[in-house]
């Protein structure tokens, strides 16, 4: 029983990281129908920047802020340089473009930080035991910050006029332009938000799961699977999808074979697409972000 709780805790914590990345996919996809394959790299980059910044003597909060700011800028520059210039975006072109950026980012990280994975200093707090379940402070940081970020982003989309303008672009781009909303700016903003979400995921996860030049690949894929579970257009779906995937992975790794951890995402993806291509929580569409 203790084992189960331990696994569930670990699953929810990694699941929260997937949820943040999944939200990043949703933010960009709803506005510009682009699946941003560099979403995982945003997380890896944030982790590595924070590690270097902290290693060079910056206090941890400053290092984290610097990492987040760096990734938001990188995401915005990516949109300006590669997404904005394309006149007629097709699925194929969007995949190849974002793959190109993701590959270049990976390689740049490899050149700067080398091939070895590293972990950020854990956030403050001491680990403790509850009924035999050992709880790392970092788990609580992950869950707490993810919850706050998820609520803030959801409120932004549901309560502010700017957020509603982004939804308007996603739902009726033509009408959005006719009321004077610039789709180009909306796309830029969505990339910046996605960069923010990815970087938060990166710095939160780094102390436990490490960051390396290629850790974005699996993170990105799993974030995508989580987003797909939620139908690709819903934040609530993406968050639930992330948590579900994290728990499932953790249970499979704990009870079946730890080597199969990475296979879970793929199998879940195939099963969902075969049975419910609209996501498993179908009632949540764009209609309720």
């Amino acid at each position: 029983m203790t084992d189960l709780f331990q696994l569930l805790l670990a699953g929810v914590s990694i699941g929260a990281v997937y949820a943040l990345i999944a939200m990043g996919f949703v933010v960009i996809f709803t506005v510009s129908e682009v699946i941003n394959l560099a979403q995982g790299e945003f997380a890896a980059l944030a982790g590595l920047v924070a590690i270097s910044a902290a290693g060079s003597g910056l206090p941890l909060p400053a290092a984290i802020l610097l990492a987040i700011a760096t990734v938001v800028v990188v995401a915005a520059v990516m949109q300006r340089l590669t997404i904005a210039p394309v006149k007629r975006m097709t699925t194929l072109i969007s995949i190849i473009l974002t793959l190109g950026v993701s590959t270049a980012l990976k390689a740049a990280m490899l050149l700067i930080w080398g091939p070895e994975g590293q972990g950020l200093t854990p956030f403050p707090g001491s680990d403790f035991n509850v009924f035999g379940v050992s709880v790392q402070a970092q788990y609580l940081w992950i869950l707490g910050v993810t919850a706050i970020v998820a609520v803030v982003v959801t409120l932004f989309y549901e309560r502010t006029l700017l957020g509603k303008a982004l939804r308007a672009c996603a739902e009726q781009p033509t009408a959005a332009r006719l009321v004077g909303i610039s789709i180009a700016r909306a796309s830029l903003l969505s990339f910046a938000i996605a960069g923010f979400l990815g970087s938060v995921a990166g710095v939160l996860s780094s102390p436990i799961y490490f960051s390396s030049w290629d850790s974005g690949l699996a993170l990105g894929l799993k974030g995508f699977v989580a987003a797909t579970l939620g139908g690709l257009v819903s934040f609530r779906g993406a968050i639930l999808g992330g948590l579900l995937l994290g728990v499932l992975e953790s249970l499979v790794a704990g009870y079946v074979d730890s080597g199969l951890r990475d296979a879970v995402a793929f199998i879940v993806l195939i099963l969902v697409l075969v049975m419910r291509p609209g996501g498993i929580f179908r009632q949540h569409t764009v209609a309720r972000v």
Binding site: L161, K164, A165, R167, A168, E171, Q172, T174, A175, A176, R177, L178, V179, G180, I181, S182, T285, V286, A287, R288, V289
Partner: protein, 242 residues
């Protein structure tokens, strides 16, 4: 208020509009009619910047807006109420109206404008917090027009507001347009398939056929014109004219 001269436009290689000249004085309601494929919607899309003209000039209230993006033209004071309404379905009526005023100052003026819209379309008041996608077609049309009005436009252009609506609602909407013209001296360009309804409210009617303006005149004179009947009944003006 709106001057169009020598306008050519189309999609890719396909030219739809040929040398369109229009001069619409302030405070007038001009109806554009013509058969399917005559280029009426394309004309509106060119006016509002959804497609870029290949040549010609569009002047809005003395300002040359030719070639500007749709966002800029909206900010310059031309509101386009698109075909099929295109409301933002998941957003409430209130939010749809608020986004209509995206290019204008928010705050008290916006609230006042909203009151005007709700006064014009009282049935929206009861639906104000409902997602626009759950409204009936007629109500959605009212939201779309209201959204356009929230930008305090100098010119309001509407693409087939009667499309697919029950006759009673068509009447309501056209009454509202007539009021907008009379009470607010709004300049209105109306593309309509329902020529009969358009004739009742228009000061001037423009007949299009195959991408050209073939005749303009008052509704009274054009209603008696055989060729005009053919133009909107579908035979094509040019065919009837010969």
């Amino acid at each position: 208020m709106l001057e169009v001269s020598g306008l050519n436009a189309g999609y890719d290689k396909l030219q739809v509009l040929h040398d369109i000249d229009l001069n619409i004085p302030a405070g007038r309601l001009v109806a554009v009619i013509g058969a399917n494929g005559a280029g009426k919607s394309t004309l509106l899309r060119a006016l509002s910047g959804l497609i870029r003209p290949t040549s010609g000039r569009i002047v809005l209230d003395g300002r040359d807006v030719t070639g500007l993006s749709a966002e800029r033209i909206a900010a310059a004071g031309l509101a386009h109420v698109p075909e099929n309404r295109l409301v933002f379905p998941s957003l409430t009526v209130l939010d749809n109206l608020a986004l209509g005023g995206w290019t204008r100052r928010r705050g008290r003026q916006a609230a006042a404008r909203r009151e005007q819209v709700l006064e014009l379309f009282p049935r929206l008041s009861v639906r104000i917090n409902q997602p626009a996608g759950t409204l009936s077609g007629g109500e959605q049309q009212m939201v779309a027009i209201g959204r356009g009005l929230m930008a305090e436009p100098k010119v309001l252009v509407l693409d087939e507001p009667s499309l697919g609506l029950a006759p009673r609602l068509v009447g309501e909407i056209f009454t509202a347009l007539a009021r907008l013209k009379a009470d607010h001296r709004l300049t209105i360009v109306l593309v309509e398939q329902n020529a009969r309804a358009a004739f009742r409210v228009a000061d001037e009617v423009v007949v299009m056929d195959r991408g050209r303006v073939v005749v303009t005149g008052t509704p009274e004179t054009l209603a008696r014109d055989d060729r005009v009947q053919a133009a909107y009944l579908g035979g094509g003006y040019a065919q009837a004219a010969s």
